[in-house]
Symmetry: C2
Subunit: 323 residues, 2 copies
Amino acid sequence: MINLNPLTQPPNQADLLLTHEAIQPFIHRTPLMTSANLDEMAGCKLIFKCENFQKIGAFKMRGAASAALRFTEGERAKGLATHSSGNHAQAVAMAAQTLGVPAYIVMPHDAPKVKIAAVKGYGAEISYCVNTPKDRQEALDEVVLKTGAVFIHPYNDYGVIAGQATAAMELIEDTPGIVLDLILAPVGGGGLMAGTALAARYFSVQAEAWGAEPSNVDDAARSLVQGTVQSNVTNETVADGLRTNLGDKTFAIIHKRVPKILVVSEEEIVTAMRHIWERMKIIIEPSCAVPFAAVLRYPELFAGKNVGIILTGGNVDVVSLPF
Amino acid sequence: MINLNPLTQPPNQADLLLTHEAIQPFIHRTPLMTSANLDEMAGCKLIFKCENFQKIGAFKMRGAASAALRFTEGERAKGLATHSSGNHAQAVAMAAQTLGVPAYIVMPHDAPKVKIAAVKGYGAEISYCVNTPKDRQEALDEVVLKTGAVFIHPYNDYGVIAGQATAAMELIEDTPGIVLDLILAPVGGGGLMAGTALAARYFSVQAEAWGAEPSNVDDAARSLVQGTVQSNVTNETVADGLRTNLGDKTFAIIHKRVPKILVVSEEEIVTAMRHIWERMKIIIEPSCAVPFAAVLRYPELFAGKNVGIILTGGNVDVVSLPF
């Protein structure tokens, strides 16, 4: 296992290359897919990076592995800990399993049973808490105090950001014959968005990284306009992976490197998701559909361009779909 | 465009190689996928050939193209015709579009709107009929008489069988490091099953081709036992692509080349389908899940083996799922 140095500032090009090498035992090299149908619908050339086929079913595997490897073996021997009801919980659990150390996950007691089962399936120990930010943090602090495990934040961490950047790095590497104009990612806490922006800056000839966000939780779009981190007033969106707020570390990178964050409605997200299911025959989470929804909503911004889109994950409850 | 000779007997090895070359403008080379999760569940090594990513969303594109190219340009100039409410209708429509000739499709008037729209989307002209075999045939005869179009049978045709064989050919070609023990296909009319058996015989070191079928429509399994073509007593199965009966041409090949056809229950099909959706994050039709359901039902037959499975298609109505 290759160990990585802790990062106290945004990762540079060399950091990202080392990160990608180090996390190989934790990840699949996910395929790219294209669709003549969707290109015609969108009026541009779309290249989808299929992180729905990633281990644990989402790109979060990359960031969790990257962060875990920045602790020394001694530091991580007592385990990895986090609070999450989503893909980050599974990613930390699987990273710990791969490293042969315990995982401690704080989850809201009303988290979907399927998510709880998945986390248990990777051998993690779960602590339940009331579903408020304060209760989660207190429960996590208690777990860390009791076990000596190290905490991996879901997004506001340079190690996590470096890991998430590797999805766009692979997208760029695996399209040698194509000059990408844009790489789109959805924005929740901003880990993927920040990483994608850094990867575009360091490894692409000319691609800009743009974000896409549900208008119901448009904290990132407003933060970009205001120049300071703004909060969401609700977390009601079908794109359950994007309910979180930007952190200071992710915002600083996004503010500097991401020129545009587009917002879309709930209906547009569901329509875009259904198009991808029906035309591409792949299962994606609602969050994944947000960038494609933005392409369909603002066609004049994309006309004739080569557009990479990170499809972030495929963990969706198939018995409870939004269409 | 490469033209092919008509086949008056089962295709030989050279026929299949020529067929594969000729149909290139009509098909994608679909990817193979594997899943550590499903391997563990099954106790064997599974290699999935993803024809759900094929043009028109199903392997039927191969057979329709192969059959269409066996008519002379003069013969097919007046169009291609068939009766089908399923993937074969879309395949013939798209083959005609690619060849620049008209397509005439007879469909039951109560066919799903989404299927009718898809066929229209490929520029075909649709004639509606009452949904009985007799009415379909009469409506088809009338269309052929009126238009001069040539008829492409959905499965009981050596040209179609040669086309369907190319899916297993690619599966074998694309697994150079693996000695396949078995290649599984679902059995409806038997075009894919017959083609798969021929491909295994001609191109694999040792793979046998086995079939899998819903027990509700187990005509093929009973035909194999009886040695003559048996009929289904119902067409009630969730695996809507497998409701048809074997034909004489497909049966003769299957009888000679397929040692085993396994049957599974409706519940087993739905469970297997859901496993593939949830673990592999791909959209497959219920018919596709039948071979994997057989692997789960008869684990002792597959333990430790290398098993290829043809995933036949992904055209499913996502708002009306069986789970």
